[in-house]
Symmetry: C2
Subunit: 338 residues, 2 copies
């Protein structure tokens, strides 16, 4: 059924090891179903700062420091920091990078950033360019909302297809040595645009990109959905996930009970989040909490983590552009081949 | 004189080859001293589009297509597209990536993006993760001006330390096979902030980061400025370059006549650009025109290309933050060791 495809998946010879992880979330996320798994839950989403933007960068700094401590290494041992976020000019990441004495590479993939930074970071460790790298991202409800949508004070009604930007950050330390789950391959996604122009329906905009990356991944790796204990998308939300399931079925793949979406599992139904969570911090905080814990404990042996991003800006919307999506995926396997 | 430093430089075993390059600039740049070297000069900076933002993405698309043609390969042969730009959520790059059927990784390093994407791209080719990658960036005077400063129609007077954002784009194709100049090493920079808070003085904000990266580079590679036919900074401009020269002298390094800045050579004195050119497209269009041509012709044997970025946003300025800088550097050598 699949045509001849150019390979989009990179297979890692060295299988970079996840030696540390950490997640930080806001109070609302801390009341959700994953509250027992997050490394740190803030009581106040200002994180003792004057502005939400400064709070967001503190989240990244906390996540990075926590992951370094969790890896039981020193900051000095981290040789490159790869990070990005949703704010204009990724200031959360860049200002967080200012606080540390580590070379920094800024990345941008909107809400796909956790997967993008891990995929790139895994290449750099696998290629022996850096022994140990840190990957991180964040999002904050109050910074994203006022940058992309309306002033917070306006209290706009939210359309039924909208999602709730997660206040959270996650950081992961990858290394060529140590113990932990391993990244065995990465599928780099293509920009996909099915013509969605509703900025309150990001799930629908991103689902086709997710489909494209999944199809490329299954094709390249000769696997099927059943080969994974978990297939985890980033923040498609309820509607986006349903679209993805339909699209995949059209291509002959059945996503079953092992398919979950971070945006759907981070909040409870009664938390008033409509289609679910979204934002870079959604997949980052879920991956760097329950998911990596379950990989370490052996509950999961092999998972596919795919974060999706909607590559729009307020300018592109105002100029009538549709919303392109992208999805990057990595396979993480429990402590193997040591 | 230097203390113990952690290595920031990656040495490439495979020495990725620059097999294609292309530069596109606007009419003002086309009247500058480098007019005979650019691949393409537009008569109108709208590039037949309705908005400047759409024009900017067309520049990236043209640069990418031109570089692919220049490399004498097909689009299909490019396995990854690494790009970023100054616009919020790097829309120029992401929308350009939508027009091609190639996996895409968005990066952000403000005006350091050309060096950042080449340094990362070289790692990915060197590590055998991708045979051939394309790296690109752009800037447009009219998109940057209205996003970062004032509406174009306002016709604000420009302070004497300000620079002129280059309307231009450049793309470079890196491959593990073929002929051309080679990237032999890359120095990844750290975020550096000396407390500059004047958003009309980017040169001063970026010079300390340039110094840090140069010091790390010379230390790691055991070279001195005299070892290079050319040391080329991205867009420090006249003031920033003078600050860099002073800072380096304080550390015992003399930057001589072989040091140049793209921002200073892209415009003539009488083009009313004050401290010179700036923007991602400044270093991208200069590297992908005169510099690579001279490396190919043998006029240069070994150069150090270092692009600097100011990692601010309008939000960070408005919240009283100072301007952090970053600089990444790569060494390009003429056709060697084939």
């Amino acid at each position: 059924m699949e045509r001849k495809r150019k390979q989009q998946t990179v297979f890692f010879k060295k299988k970079p090891i996840i030696i540390g992880h950490y997640s930080v979330v806001g109070p609302k996320e801390g009341k959700g179903p994953l509250r027992d798994y997050f490394s740190e839950i803030a009581e106040d989403d200002f994180f003792e700062q004057e502005t939400y933007e400064k709070a967001e960068r503190v989240m990244i700094e906390k996540a990075l420091k926590g992951a370094v401590d969790n890896a039981n290494i020193r900051f000095d041992d981290v040789r490159l920091f790869l990070a990005g976020d949703l704010l204009n000019q990724i200031i959360s990441s860049s200002y967080a990078a200012r606080s540390i004495d580590i070379p920094y590479v800024g990345v941008f993939g909107a809400c796909s950033t956790m997967a993008e930074s891990l995929a790139l970071g895994a290449c750099l460790v696998d290629g022996e360019h850096f022994d140990t790298v840190a990957c991180a991202t964040s999002s904050h409800f109050s910074t994203a909302e006022r940058q992309f949508r309306y002033p917070l004070e306006l209290g706009n009604q939210r359309p039924p297809t909208s999602q709730w930007t997660v206040t959270g950050a996650g950081a992961t330390i990858l290394s060529c040595k140590g113990h932990g789950p391993r990244i065995t391959c990465a599928t780099f996604g293509k920009v996909t645009d099915y013509g969605i122009n509703d900025v309150n329906n990001m799930g629908a905009a991103m689902a086709p990109a997710a489909m494209n990356t999944l199809l490329a991944h299954f094709y390249d790796t000769k696997t099927t959905p059943e080969d994974y204990d978990l297939i985890l998308s980033g923040d498609l939300g309820k509607l986006g996930s349903e679209i993805l399931i339909d699209l995949m079925e059209d291509h002959g793949y059945k996503l079953g009970l092992n398919y979950k979406d971070c945006g759907q599992i981070i909040f409870k139904r009664n938390q008033n989040v409509l289609m679910g969570g979204s934002g870079c911090g959604c997949s980052a905080s879920v991956l760097n909490s329950i998911i990596l814990k379950r990989l370490i404990s052996g509950e999961y042996k092999k998972i596919l983590f795919m974060a999706t991003g909607a590559l729009l800006s307020t300018t592109s919307c105002q100029q009538g552009d549709t919303v392109p999506g992208i999805a990057h995926a990595i396979v993480i396997e429990g402590d193997i081949n040591e």
